[in-house]
Amino acid sequence: MTSVDLLIVGAGPAGMAAAIEARRHGVDVLVVDDQPEPGGQIWRSVETVAAAPRGALLGKAYQAGKSVAELFRASGAKYEPGTQVWQIEPGFRAFVTRNRQASTIQAKSIVLATGAQERPVPFPGWTLPGVLTVGAAQILLKTSGQIPDKPVWVAGSGPLPLLYMVQLLRAGGRIAGYLDTTPPGRGRATLPHLAKALGAAGDLLKGIAWLGMLRRAKVRIVKHVADIEAIGSERIEAVRYRTRNGQERTVPTEVLLVHEGVVPNIHATLALGCAVEWSESQDCYVPVLNGWGESSQSGIFLAGDGAGIAGAQAAVHRGTLAGLGVAMKLGRVSDRAAEEAARPVRQKLARELALRPFLDALYKPRPEVFAPKDATIVCRCEEVTAGDIRAMAAMGRPGPNQVKAFTRAGMGPCQGRQCGYTVTQILAAAEGRPAKDVGFYRVRPPLKPVTLGELASLEQQEKAS
């Protein structure tokens, strides 16, 4: 059985930064990640693609990942790609699968850098082939140099759809239109945060520049879209949208890309018993962390978007702080030296975080996101509809686990990653109590589907060690 000082789960910006920093203090580090290459989501395939022709169109923020990846490779951290972590027991003992073989890793400390996922937003027809997230389209562009072959419709809110559309145009793709679901009046909501946001003016200006580029390219932008519906029998054939002033249109399309914000991946966080709190501004759970990123479970640190949505640069800073925090905890650096090293990192992190309240206010999800129509599938895996959930809510005041037991919502392979928040919100609305009081599914291991044979092979592994 492998034994390390520090196990880092995730080789994205935060995971790599944590590894680099921890290694500087002589900590023995193993980094595992389910992707075949480092980079996480934002820097997907950056080692191969940054220098390739399409690297240029992806932008500087993407290319910045290349030097971090180089430092990571040179850091002396052990790195195992293609590895899924499916359980972490106190102590810590992590259970992983790689190449269809399960094994255990003993670690004194853990950094979870598992990032974020797009907020699941159910709408009629969202399960049809041809409906993907904007993040998925961006991954296809990065790792496959692949774009929609016909003019694409994009629907949603936030900086990511704007960035993707700019990248798509640069690559020679075509956009049929952008259905902007950002509700009206958000300008006013953001004013209180504007002053602080200007501290991160660079990023703010970037967003404005992307919009400018899209307008100059004459991309059709439909504002204040309230509802969308994907129509088709075996794949999407059209999207119907309705704006807040009642305008309704149906337009043909083969691909619809959707995005309404990102939320931290909390599965491992919840399964490990780390305390989380509800973020009103982001409508999701975030872990409760100290200044080093340590959670309520001693020895478990979180860094990156999994600690709170803040982008790649903030992820790097949080990763560095976690790496320092681990080194300090293991006695490889004195508290004083660690605090001193942390100071400039904390300043940089604070500048990155200054933009968040502004962005959160600007892109707070519209209420329709949490109130899908009855016929809409909420649990994609088990095909449970919003109406099924509401019918259960009518019988007393069930929580998400009771609903899961009786409707099977959350019992499929995604383990509630796509339906958890929606179920919570539907129950909250039906029961007249806030989402944070309703709670979330109890997350049980295995965190990733492991096969019976892989689990069985653990028995021999344990015998051998």
Binding site: T127, P129, E254
Partner: protein
């Protein structure tokens, strides 16, 4: 549905989807290839046999499941292509060869 910006060249591999050869590029995922090939669905669900295709491309939705080299329910968005790889679309509840 999707197309590549450039044809795979010296990093090209051939994979087989339901027996039909498809060109792919080393380093890309099986899910990316499935999104280029017809039919545009890549599996049907075990509950109602509804057609599905990859959705998130990052391993959190489990829509991209397919049979890869004889092993079913593989998340193809996390599986890099390999020359000669055999991929089959998974329909309904997965069946087991005795």
């Amino acid at each position: 549905m999707f197309r590549k910006l450039h044809e795979p060249s010296e990093r090209a591999v051939t994979v087989f989807i339901d027996g039909v050869p498809a060109r792919a590029e080393q380093g890309e995922s099986v899910a990316a290839v499935l999104l280029r090939e017809t039919p545009h669905w890549s599996r049907t669900t075990p509950v109602t046999q509804s057609k599905r295709a990859p959705y998130c491309m990052m391993g959190v939705c489990f829509e991209c499941l397919a049979i890869v080299d004889g092993v079913a329910s593989v998340q193809t968005c996390l599986t890099p292509v390999r020359d000669g790889m055999r991929i089959q679309r998974q329909t309904g509840k997965r069946s087991l060869s005795a």
